[in-house]
């Protein structure tokens, strides 16, 4: 590839974020190739055609190869951009929220989880119209629960 090709991977996130992403992806691909696929794909070979692990290995191997290509290209570029901390913060916040939503949904039920999530999300997004927040948090989950039962005959958890 020419020098131009080095610019191929210019994208949101900047050089540092891309290098971190490349390293993470390469590590994940190695994890899949060395531990996950060999230990959790049975049997090792097939009497009919290629082994069941052939295609996962092919996909993970390609990801590893492309991650190395991404790393090599971005490594040679001048430092640019940033935003790595933002990605990590947002991921941490979302992980905590997702766990809370799952726990609330499974332990307390939809009619408890949904109003809290709607109200919380509206406030988080900057809405401060309290009557609207209260109305949305109360009416919307009830409407959805009712519609799910009437239309799909499904009882939400």
């Amino acid at each position: 590839m020419s020098d131009d090709a080095d610019l191929d991977d210019v994208a949101p996130g900047g050089r540092g974020v891309d290098i971190a992403a490349g390293l993470c992806l390469a590590a994940l691909a190695l994890f899949a190739l060395l531990w996950l696929i060999p230990n959790h794909t049975q049997p090792a070979d097939s009497q009919f055609d290629v082994a069941p692990g052939f295609f996962p290995n092919l996909a993970a191997g390609t990801v590893l190869l492309l991650s190395v290509v991404l790393l090599a290209r971005r490594w040679r570029q001048a430092p640019s951009g940033g935003g790595g901390l933002q990605v990590i913060t947002e991921m941490a916040v979302w992980t905590a929220l997702a766990v809370a939503i799952m726990l609330a949904l499974s332990k307390l039920g939809f009619l408890v989880m949904a109003p809290v999530v709607i109200a919380g999300a509206m406030v988080f997004s900057g809405n401060r119209t309290w009557w609207l927040i209260a109305a949305m948090a109360l009416v919307f989950p009830l409407a959805v629960e009712g519609a799910a039962w009437v239309i799909f005959t499904v009882d939400l958890p």
Binding site: D8, A11, M122
Partner: protein
């Protein structure tokens, strides 16, 4: 054929039939607009309603549902950048930037007109080509399918990101995820950790809704948090853009409309390739053919036209293998086959001779359904446009809840909800780091098909891939793959700079 079609119109043009078509299109649009509940779910839910109906209104109703459900997915994609189905993802590329410019109504009109036009072209092709094209479709074996899918992946990597490397990583990541579950040949477990929930693999709707719709919702909420209340109170459209779309202006894009409808029809006639592939192949073709490819993804209406005309064209064309061979083109067509059988019609080579009158009445109903779709869609645009004027801080939280409910409803599985929440995080990280989320989803969606066709090819040709040289179709697609990849890597630096 003309006489048969006229007789079909005579049978189909009744008030009852029109009412059922209208009801089907309306319900299809409403259900299709909810993230996670596309045309397939709409059909699955509504088929039992047709049990007590006579065959023609029943099938016409379901065809209306399918048409409405396919175009309904474009609504959240354009208004909220939250495509509810993978096939609508490309509509968001240009539809959402138009909404941000205050042109939501125009974008939705483009989507509706393209959808109806693409559908109409595909229906006409269905009527003309149903028998001869079925014979061509039989020429496509596993080798040809493998080549088409590899071509589709290379095209996707080239169009969906400024970095083809990132696009390819995302695609193969998706392909890897698609291998979780039971092996398609040996039925042995692969990376399931003895979890029954994983035997069928990760749920497609959970991965797609998590990565595409929910990740977009979360991203927008984080952005709102940064901008805080000023933008939240101001509503989505900061500026008032054009809302009118004269029909002449729409048809000035006739080349894109025609090309996309043909791509959608071609893909639809080949069993199994599906709506999403058609949408992205068409988007890529429109971008490559455009004099301003850099304007795609920034609110170029041709992006919407290409996507919607192609994915709607699949709806009619899918019935070619369904009617001619009894082989469903996709899940929606498989459900329609079920409905045919319930009503005493056995799809297959004898369908045209045994039920010719009914089939031509069905063709007439499909053409009528396009007119009904246009009217109902136009009536709905002002209502949907209100969403664009409502502050995001009011719209996004209910969409988050709808995503959860939309994924829970089909399988009633909390595991799927958990998978969706996890993939929302993956989608968010990918969006923030410039990896194209849509590549991951389509890699996941088509990965199983690629594996099956590749392994069938290896079995058929005793692992000798030089058999590709004996298939002109496969060779042509592989040559196109090489061309598209080289072009994508050469163009990427220019676009990025």
């Amino acid at each position: 054929m003309i006489e048969s079609l006229l007789a079909g119109f005579e049978a189909a043009f009744t008030l009852v039939n029109l009412a059922f078509i209208a009801a089907g299109v309306t319900l299809g649009i409403l259900i299709g607009a909810i993230p996670g509940l596309g045309s397939v779910t709409a059909l699955a839910i509504l088929i039992p309603i047709t049990f007590y109906m006579s065959p023609l209104p029943a099938i016409a109703f379901l065809v209306g549902v399918n048409k409405g459900g396919t175009s309904g997915g474009a609504i959240p994609a354009i208004l909220l950048n939250s495509p509810g189905t993978p096939e609508a993802a490309a509509s968001a590329f240009d539809g959402y930037p138009m909404t941000q410019r205050g042109e939501a109504k125009r974008a939705m009109k483009y989507a509706l007109y393209s959808s109806v036009t693409g559908d109409m072209i595909s229906d006409v092709l269905l009527i003309i080509l149903v028998v001869p094209f079925a014979a061509v479709a039989l020429q496509f074996g596993p080798l040809e399918y493998t080549a088409i899918l590899i071509f589709a992946f290379s095209l996707l990597a080239g169009i969906s990101s400024s970095s083809p490397t990132k696009g390819l990583i995302a695609i193969f990541g998706g392909v890897f995820l698609s291998t979780i579950g039971l092996d398609p040949v040996d039925s042995t477990q692969r990376m399931t950790f003895d979890q029954v929930n994983l035997y069928d693999g990760l749920s497609i709707s959970a991965v797609a809704i998590g990565c595409l719709a929910l990740a977009s919702v979360i991203e927008q909420m984080f952005d709102l948090k940064r901008q805080q209340s000023a933008a939240a109170a101001a509503g989505q459209s900061q500026s008032k853009g054009r809302t009118a779309l004269p029909i002449g202006e729409f048809f000035s894009h006739w080349k894109t409309i025609g090309r996309s409808a043909l791509i959608g029809s071609g893909v639809g006639m080949l069993p199994g390739l599906g709506v999403t592939l058609a949408a992205f192949l068409s988007y890529g073709a429109a971008k490559r053919a455009s004099a301003e490819p850099e304007s795609f993804g920034k609110g170029n209406p041709q992006g919407i036209i290409a996507t919607e005309a192609a994915n709607s064209a699949v709806v009619g064309a899918n019935l070619v293998p369904t009617i001619a061979l009894g082989v469903p083109g996709n899940i929606a067509a498989a459900l329609l086959i079920g409905a045919f059988i319930i009503h005493g019609i056995v799809p297959g080579p004898f369908m045209m001779t045994m039920h010719g009158e009914l089939i031509y009445a069905l063709f007439a109903s499909m053409l009528m359904a396009n007119g009904v779709h246009l009217v109902i869609g136009k009536l709905g645009i002002p209502i949907w446009s209100l969403v664009a004027k409502t502050p995001k801080s009011v719209i996004l939280p209910p969409v988050l809840i709808l995503c959860i409910v939309g994924v829970y409803l089909p399988g009633q599985s909390l595991f799927d909800v958990g998978v969706m929440l996890a993939f929302a995080g993956v989608g968010l990280a990918m969006r923030r780091t410039g990896f194209p989320v849509v590549c991951l989803v389509i890699g996941f969606l088509l990965g199983g098909m690629l594996e099956t066709s590749l392994r069938q090819s290896l079995l058929l040709h005793k692992s000798d891939l030089s058999a590709m040289l004996g298939s002109p179709i496969a060779l042509a697609f592989l040559a196109l793959t090489a061309f598209v990849l080289v072009r994508a890597f050469r163009r990427a630096p220019k676009e990025a700079s």
